[in-house]
Amino acid sequence: MRRLRALEPLAWVGPAIVLIALVVIWPVIEMIRSSFLEISRLGVVRGWTAGDNYVKLFGEKDFADIMLRSVIWVVAVVVLTVVVSLALAQLFNQHFPLRKVARWALIAPWAASVLMTAIIFKWMLDPEVGVINQIRVKLGLIDAMGGAAADQLGDASTAMPWLVFVAVFVSVPFTTYALLAGLATIPSDVYEAAKMDGAGRFRTYWSITLPLLRPALTVAALINIMNVFNSFPIIWAMTHGQPGYSTATSTIFMYILKGSDIGESAAMSVVNFGMVIVLTVIFLRVSRWNKEVA
């Protein structure tokens, strides 16, 4: 009977553990294992290769560029997202008529699938009829539709900023909402005290709002780092990482490799995994450092 009691938690929690083990833990192990295997295109395991997959991966001529681009991609998207969201949270925290409706509008990019949003942007950037290019023609930024200047996604130097734009576009809603929730937890008497001390608007924001917003900011940024690093549909739908690999991040590269060499692709995944952990640790260090300074 006592032994049965000891098993009781397992009956309640067990299924969850099994599901996590099956769907989350197992793939991680399988991924690491595969990165040391030689696997044929059809999925047949040909045997162990000490670290050949990694050697091959690091030897790819585009590898260094892709890794650098991935880091820039994450940093650019997350920083822009946070800055834009801080401003938007401040704005949407004010009182104005129909605030609720305006806030709801922000939900759309968050709820809609990122893939759909990316596809819409690809269409809006269409060189011949895309509405963004129509606007650019009207503003005199480009001479005419259809030319090379209108083909924004065809060249890495113009495609990359658009990819970043779309990634920021879909990340801002969640971040803004998280910051709005953070703003709501700041007690109003703190602001009254600041006012009595004669602190100005900017000063109040800088030394009261921002520090108190830090927990919300940290979590939002952390979730964004994970999401953006693993962001796949935007680049996949809009450029496929092309031309060449010039708009590919490591996640895209991993997926492209999957079609030719699963072992090498697994090695790329493991490197990706490591990168996410490193970026997260760096971020946590930096934000803690900020706290100590403040």
């Binding site: 938690p9 009956a11 929690v13 299924p15 969850a16 996590i20 769907v23 989350v24 399988e30 991924m31 999925g43 938007l88 704005l91 925290n93 004010q94 009182h95 104005f96 008529p97 129909l98 305006a102 509008a105 922000l106 939900i107 990019p109 809609a112 699938s113 893939l115 759909m116 596809i119 819409i120 269409w123 809006m124 969640f174 998280a178 709005l180 929730a181 953070g182 709501a184 937890t185 007690p187 109003s188 602001y191 009254e192 927990p215 919300a216 979590v219 939002a220 979730i223 994970m226 693993n230 549909p233 996949w236 996640t251 991993m254 999957k258 699963i262 697994a266 995944s269 995994f273 996410v276």
Partner: protein, 295 residues
Amino acid sequence: MAVDTAPARTGSRPQARPGRGATRRLPKLKTVVIAASAYVIAFLFLFPYLVMVLTSLRSQESLRDVSFWPDEWVWSNFTDFWSSGLAGNLWVTIKVAAGATVLVLLVALPAAYYSARHRFRGRTAFLILVLITQMFQPTAMVVGIYREFYQFGLVDSTWSLILVNGGFNLAFAVWILNAYFSSIPRELEEAAFIDGNGRFGALFRITLPLAMPGVITALIFTFIAAWNEFVVALTLTTSSENKPLPVALNSFIGQYQVDWQNLFAGSVIATIPVIILFALIERKVVSGLTAGSIK
């Protein structure tokens, strides 16, 4: 949630107060500027989806016209959707989203309830495991997922998509449900238990109804996430009739001539329902995702 807005209110009150008596009907200039910029931004965030809807109502011929509004409104793109193979893909999406939601409900509910009510050995380890899982993304391990399901012989099966989507959304559900169950006083349940309801009677009559907002949030969140999921579905489905709608729609793009009007009719069907569903739970999702850090 009404307290949410307290800081802003106190922030703007001093400016608003003096003029209130005299210019009651006229809003202050500051409010007008704030409202106007908020509306513009709101519009910008809706704009792509407006373009999506407008394009889905264009005719094939007017697709390449340079005009923002369609010359004529063509509803046949939507009726075409139902007669094309895409209706089958929509059905796959519905099965995956509903299946994952039911799976999460069955697995997360007991785990969250028990870990909220009882201290047992391994409880902390379990909750940490859940927290770590929430940080994991299927995209990062899609190769491992593919290899695993390849070995199971479950590639190109709706079941594998249900399993993966259920597994990756479990963490959020356990987390938010655990918070809900913890907030319900144990005494309420015990009182019902003493009244002769039995342990399960108390659970089903008292605790579960009180936790309903959390349950609904977890369910809608899982449903939307599974509905929108792309990478795993792209990887694990091979035949066109087994592809969920997003994957099927994406395969339009590779074609030489993209029938954007049909593509966007499908997108509208894939997008609008989840935006509405999401609007219902948006606040709870934020507190769920950032739980523990903001409070």
